[in-house]
């Protein structure tokens, strides 16, 4: 099957509010798939359903041929689906380097490994990897700062580094460039392009059309919890339906 992720018929309601309605989404291996839509359209809910943070009311999330629904978040992570969070979910008390070493350890040690007598000082290999990941996102200079003290944009980049170091087969990016300056956004776009060359499949949720159109092979538009369109960037750009929902131009104008 060439689809790495196959979401079928996912529904999710919160106390009567339909957050997601019958979502059908197929992500092809090796592609970059963007999901766009106005705030509150259900994009983050969709991602949360994929990584086990939320359990959908119905439907399946097939990843590499396995249904992920009901699996523990850490198992989903080890299956190869990794999410980069929108509001930076980092370890604020730890240094940047430690923040990146943690996911690297997860990759190496699995869901649980009891190694209290191994010295961190001897983990030079992981450290190098982590430094490289930090360098990828341009944070290597601040490796010894506490993650809580850096700017929001930098936190996003740190998140990205934390996702990348696990080399997942599917990376879910939730607004990777929010809070970044234009200059940094462009750097991030370049980085994400580079990853694409490495063959990593990505799902990007993004508001920034510039980012979306520079990266995406395919775009799905989510509004009111429904996917209202899926297509190539050009198709989406010219869809009236999309304009109405997303850009807020109502039809009577």
């Amino acid at each position: 099957m060439s689809y790495i992720l196959n979401i079928e018929g996912v529904n999710k309601t919160f106390g009567g509010l339909h957050a997601l309605t019958d979502i059908q989404l197929k992500i092809e291996k090796g592609t970059t798939h963007a999901i766009i839509g106005p705030n509150g359209a259900g994009k983050s809910t969709l991602l949360n359903c994929c990584i086990g943070r939320l359990i959908p009311d119905s439907g399946t999330v097939n990843f590499n041929g396995h249904n992920m629904i009901g699996m523990q978040p850490h198992d989903i992570n080890h299956a190869g689906m990794v999410r980069v969070f929108q509001t930076p979910e980092i370890f604020p008390e730890l240094t940047l380097l430690q923040n990146v070493i943690i996911p690297a350890l997860a990759k190496r040690d699995g869901t649980f490994k009891f190694n209290p007598f191994r010295s961190l000082a001897k983990e030079t290999e992981l450290e190098d990897q982590a430094m490289a990941a930090l360098a990828d996102v341009g944070l290597e200079k601040y490796y010894d700062q506490h993650a809580g003290s850096i700017s929001r944009g930098d936190k996003r980049r740190l998140e990205l580094a934390m996702g990348l170091i696990q080399q997942p087969s599917l990376l879910l990016l939730d607004e990777p460039t929010a809070g970044m300056a234009r200059h940094d956004t462009n750097k991030t776009i370049d980085l994400l392009k580079k990853i694409k060359e490495r063959g990593m499949t990505k799902v990007i949720i993004e508001h920034d059309m510039h980012v979306v159109f520079s990266l995406a092979d395919k775009i799905s538009v989510l509004a009111q919890g429904c996917i209202i369109a899926t297509g190539t960037p050009d198709e989406i750009r010219n869809s009236a339906k999309v304009k109405e929902a997303y850009l807020g131009e109502s039809e009577d104008e």
Binding site: L17, P38, R152
Partner: protein, 258 residues
């Protein structure tokens, strides 16, 4: 820390006198405001003026610091404003706590509406009328928002998204406000409801309430606004009329990503 201080001084030197077209002294002015979330530097020296009765759209990409700017003006605990002055109608907001600022006429309608759990619709409105100065009477509010009147004894949090937004705005109107801060009023609402809220905001404009509106849906916001400010990385990068933004595709593309 000392590096940061030097930065601040530099920033201050750099600030040009902000444009002050029309009424002088300006009704609201925010001068070189810096704020932090913990150690995170979010608002990095924002300065702007607003005339009485003006509706200003504060735009920018996600994470540009729009919400933080509004929250800084409303003087909530976080982000913490470390430097700068905020004046509203000759009163120094920067010296006040949130409740003082509110008593001096600032009203923030927060992003997620923040309808208070455990209180009915009516109690939510009553809550707004405890501290002076009091604005619209509850009867008047119900006249304007008949839907709220119907649900007056329902728990506020059981309302639909649009109704909650209505309640949040109504709650602001229940106070005698000089400056309304609207944070993402359309977020997560169905188009029909967006329209309804837009009408409400339109009517607010008619009453001449000075308003700053932050909205993801830039086009919708610009339709309401007299003026637009664009924020990027905690700084004001554009200040002009709403039409200028709508006309300037490059600007929109660069800073609003549309």
């Amino acid at each position: 820390m000392s590096d940061r201080l030097i930065d601040e001084i530099k920033v201050r030197d750099r600030v040009k006198p902000v444009l002050n077209q029309g009424s002088s002294p300006s009704f609201f002015s925010c001068w070189d405001m810096h704020s932090y979330y913990g150690e995170s530097y979010i608002v990095q020296g924002v300065s702007f003026d607003i005339r009485e009765g003006e509706v200003v759209a504060l735009l920018g990409r996600n994470g540009a610091g729009k919400t933080s700017t509004l929250r800084s003006i409303a003087r909530v605990d976080s982000p913490q404003v470390t430097h700068g002055e905020i004046w509203l109608d000759h009163k120094p907001l920067h010296k006040m706590a949130a409740h003082d600022a509110a008593m001096n006429g600032v009203a923030l309608v927060p992003e997620d509406r923040r309808i208070i759990a455990g209180l009915t619709v009516e109690e939510n409105l009553q809550l707004a009328q405890i501290a002076p100065p009091i604005g619209w009477t509850i009867e008047r509010i119900y006249e304007h928002f008949p839907r709220l009147a119907e649900r007056r004894n329902q728990m506020g949090t059981t309302l639909s998204g649009g109704e909650q937004q209505m309640l949040a705005v109504a709650r602001a109107l229940a106070r005698d406000i000089k400056l309304l801060l609207l944070d993402e009023p359309y977020e997560g609402l169905a188009p029909v409801i967006v329209q309804e809220i837009a009408n409400i905001v339109d009517s607010i404009k008619k009453y001449g309430i000075t308003t700053i509106i932050v909205e993801q849906n830039a086009v919708a916001a610009l339709r309401l606004a007299d003026r637009a400010l664009i924020l990027d990385m905690g700084n004001i990068v554009f200040d002009g009329t709403a039409q200028e933004v709508l006309d300037n595709e490059e600007l929109r593309h660069e800073y609003l990503a549309i």
